[in-house]
Symmetry: C2
Subunit: 293 residues, 2 copies
């Protein structure tokens, strides 16, 4: 079975061909320019490399609720030219195969859920701390979503009184993303996050906010595992600090699996997204549907 994957990002699209084991055999990177040019290049690729189904993980926000008019669209994105673009509709017009449609963070979550750091668990919270903070929740095998997809990277947490940084989120200022994303570290401490590796003050503060996110997700979903990815999490010293802060913040209020397994680093790294797309494409074929979300 030949399956297709599209990881649609704000700077590049990655198209992949692979199989139902999640192995990618071929890929193409396409710069994200205008929808007309970029989407046409994606269609060209899959016309030259026919597949039985495609999984798409797109930057957003996107419409994932089949009952809404914006289903299949990239909606109010700040990315110039991409607002209200019917991405899924364009693909379905040009490629007559089943297509699964979800967010970029969800496809990576699904890769980790099936083949990475969360295989063998039922309920997963996955989040990524990079340029932004994005979260995806898999509940009993399916993405948790409702009126819209989740945006749980922007929850409010307790802005520490000893942290007078205002936060970088253009919408909320000091939401989680505003306080703890890579750009928040860079603006607060004056250097890119990777250059701050040796400063323990940085990682104690960062671990506090990420732990608060883990506490809120624990209380809100009671998952079996929390997997964290994204550029900032290359600082592996964060993990013990996060687990320690999590334990002290949660204060025994509810139980979780043992913390070394409960809070883990991503295992598939850069492959999580494409792998997730391939497996979602396969699931869609198995479901007998032509479109999924």
């Amino acid at each position: 079975m030949r399956l297709g994957a599209i990881e649609a990002g704000g700077t590049k699209f990655v198209c992949g061909i692979g199989d139902e084991t999640g192995q990618v055999s071929e890929q193409l990177r396409i710069p994200t320019t205008t929808p007309a040019v970029t989407l046409a290049a994606v269609v060209d690729f899959f016309q030259e490399h026919p597949v039985d189904a495609i999984g798409i993980g797109s930057f957003g926000p996107i419409g994932v609720n089949p009952q809404h008019r914006d289903f299949g669209y990239i909606t109010q994105t700040p990315k110039a030219g991409w607002e209200n673009v019917n991405f899924l509709g364009y693909m379905r017009t040009h490629l007559n195969i089943p297509i699964y449609w979800t967010t970029d963070v969800n496809v990576a979550a699904y890769g980790e859920y099936r083949l990475g750091a969360a295989k063998n668990v039922e309920n997963l919270v996955y989040f990524t701390v990079g340029t932004g903070i994005g979260a995806g929740v898999i509940y009993q095998g399916h993405f948790l979503q409702g009126f819209n997809h989740l945006e749980a990277g922007h929850i409010f947490v307790n802005h520490r009184p000893d942290d007078d940084f205002a936060g970088v989120c253009p919408y909320h200022g000091d939401c989680l993303e505003g306080l703890a994303s890579g750009p928040a570290l860079e603006q607060r401490f004056g250097q890119p996050a990777q250059a701050l590796a040796a400063n323990p003050v940085v990682w104690e503060l960062e671990a506090d906010y990420i732990a608060q996110a883990c506490v809120n997700y624990t209380l809100s979903y009671s998952p079996d595992r929390i997997v964290i990815g994204g550029g900032v999490m290359h600082q592996e010293q964060l993990f013990p600090l996060i687990r320690q802060a999590f334990k002290s913040q949660l204060a025994g209020y509810t139980t979780t699996p043992e913390l070394n397994s409960y809070i883990q680093r991503i295992a598939l790294n850069d492959d999580a997204g494409l792998t997730g797309c391939l497996l979602l494409a396969k699931d869609l074929i198995d479901s007998g549907q032509t479109v999924g979300a």
Copy 2:
């Protein structure tokens, strides 16, 4: 069909008899003393008033995961004498009928979902602001839960810099419950919440925290509706303040249904819990199972 309901609280148990429309025809209040005495009185009531199934909504924390040893138990409650009590097991030993088992907040959520302020919606967040703050989420008709039941009344929110109150949560200090429950208002302002009705400073601050909870729930679940109950919400002037603060805090980051329908007051009031128990008992019979959670 005769159905039973048990609302098990820390000060009293309310047992009810009713039918599949959720109408209660008879009830008995039993003070919460020791498990031996209180649970025996509950069993006596249902032996004198036989029913086809019972729904239980219990104070907690309780074990709701059938894969855990504490399933059916009241677990680490601070209520003296009630820790590690096998409530469901006791009922099943003495009453040979199907029994549905969940939290006190979940049964009220279910009552509102089926017959109250959230009928006709698919996904509901319900929370109650009283002595504590408890939340229940109904996702596609079922309670959202995982390793344990949710405890989303204790999430962290942004403790306002102009609010120097330390918070009353014995576990977390200034979590949502610690900052915005009835006792938090009473300790912060020196009078019981109902006596503060005329002070606008109180309700502006309270609305800010409740709105932050609504923002976090919106970003974390994207529900169709948020219904709020509990003693503090008798202050109906809170609702417009909450909607206004919610709008400004969310800052358009995701869309929701129109706010007057999205954020609503509970409709069934004190009946929500017993009604929910009866309907859950009926659903359990329909499912053909003897125990549900």
